[in-house]
């Protein structure tokens, strides 16, 4: 049952290039795969911004914001004490399959994976594969909750030089969960499919209502259009129709 509330920002820290960890106080429920619609402005931009929950613990929720446009720029510019409006939790939680699980994130795609790692480790063993454009960040946090953390940096600023699909191998995993750009997701899916490993992908689309009412965030699946906000954001990769 989603709720709307406005709370003061507790902290907003630039943790990596153009990446901000935005924290708010309050007991906000969230399961892996779920998100909140965030806003900190009146009428413009009209839409709130859907953001995966990075972490939640007693009395605090956090979001990893990557600056892309005017909405994320506004969120990145929030200071402690500024009001932040949250609407959620929204979306269908993704469940851990158990056994050995791999989480694969590229760029802003690492945002939903920390909560997944934290929750999934009670159901099995979790490894994380994280891809960054530049200097890697938040890696120690992932190391606290994942058995192994593999890191790639496109410019070679840490970990293996390259993209995350070059360091990820699905062999030996019982299930994989991936979030990132479409091209990356498609390559992860090709690797998982040929290895016979089930994959869940977290998809992104422009979104308005967040509750399935406007049908704006449709994505193509083998079962027809489905909605990122209500049916997702996580979908079984074999159901997704890839554009590329």
């Amino acid at each position: 049952m989603p709720c709307l509330s406005t709370v003061p920002v507790a902290a907003n820290e630039e943790v990596g290039p153009g990446a901000f960890l935005l924290r708010a106080e309050g007991d906000f429920p969230a399961a892996p795969g779920q998100f909140y619609l965030l806003r900190a402005w009146d009428r413009d931009p009209p839409l709130s911004r859907p953001m995966s929950v990075f972490d939640r613990k007693c009395g605090q929720i956090s979001f990893l914001i990557f600056v892309r446009g005017q909405g994320t720029r506004r969120l990145a510019g929030l200071r402690p004490g500024d009001p932040l409006t949250l609407f959620g939790p929204l979306g269908t939680p993704v469940r851990p399959r158990g056994g050995r699980m791999a989480l694969v994130g590229g760029g802003s795609g690492i945002a939903p994976l920390y909560l997944a790692a934290k929750e999934f480790r009670t159901a099995g063993e979790v490894d994380a594969f994280l891809g960054f454009r530049d200097r890697p960040f938040l890696v120690p946090l992932f190391q606290e909750v994942a058995s192994r953390v593999h890191v790639a940096s496109e410019v070679g600023a840490g970990g293996v030089k390259g993209v995350v699909t070059e360091i990820f191998r699905p062999h030996g995993y019982d299930a994989c969960y991936a979030c990132g750009p479409d091209g990356m997701l498609e390559r992860v899916w090709q690797a998982c499919r040929s290895a016979g490993v089930p994959l869940w992908v977290f998809l992104e689309e422009r979104m308005a209502c967040g509750v399935g009412a406007c049908r704006g965030c449709a994505v193509r699946t083998v079962g027809g259009f489905r909605l990122v906000c209500r049916d997702g954001p996580a979908f079984p990769a074999e159901e997704v129709i890839w554009d590329g």
Partner: protein, 298 residues
Amino acid sequence: MRVGRVLLGNPVVAASGCFGFGAEYGEVYDISRLGAICTKGLTLRPRAGNPPPRLWETRCGLLNSIGLDNPGVEAFLREELPRLKRTGAVVIANVWGASPEEYEQVVQALASSPVDAIELNLSCPNVPGNGIPGRDAAATAEVVGRARAVARGKPLWAKLPPEAPAGLVAVAQAAQEAGADAVCAANSFPALAVDIRTGRPVFANVVAGLSGPAIKPLALRIVYELSREVDIPVVGIGGITTWEDAVEFIMAGAHAIQIGTANFLDPYAGPRIVDGLRAFMEARGLGSWEEIRGCAHR
């Protein structure tokens, strides 16, 4: 209060396409607090809708190209309507047809159902081909007349586009003469966005519908003009985001107002506008909206 023969608890109606079938926002608040709910546009058969992207933001506005993604009227009657009626909400079924015959068939399917009224969507900007009979008086008269003949006395609202080549007044008058109980003005404005990275229109259907606060003064002017020229009630739609916006529409002549994009700015926009209007009535000592309806004309 009333819009023609439809009895509403208040003048705030959820606009079609922005409120699903009610259940989606029903998880957020008691949707029977709204005056009525206009359903997602219904077609004879299920429709997949347009390919993504379906949304694009502009300054204070939103472009959409959803394309009537809906499960079809039969699935609506079987699965959605019973659930929606149980909430106690007044239900207005929004209907679209690819031809006058299809409008007639969908209305026929709804005529003996418990929907409280039918809104003929004569103005969807997001379907290719001849999807906008509301741009023409004769085409409007044909659709409304056919619907009237099979609607078994159900109140019929005609939802008009914001523009018609020979003038919207003639279209509204044609709807009235063909048996419409009310006209709703207006649907989203046909508009365009170009993706400067590709140099191509953002939307596969090229033209999309512009809604949101940006269009409010444009819609208000339309309601002002139509309410002077037709005898049936005018339902105002277009960028209404606050109770103050709603009061402007009532003062310009609207009997009720619909809120669409405002739900995306604030999921509680509907009940907030209901409460704001009630407080305004009390503060002004109004016994009914009739006391100020259309006062801008005087």
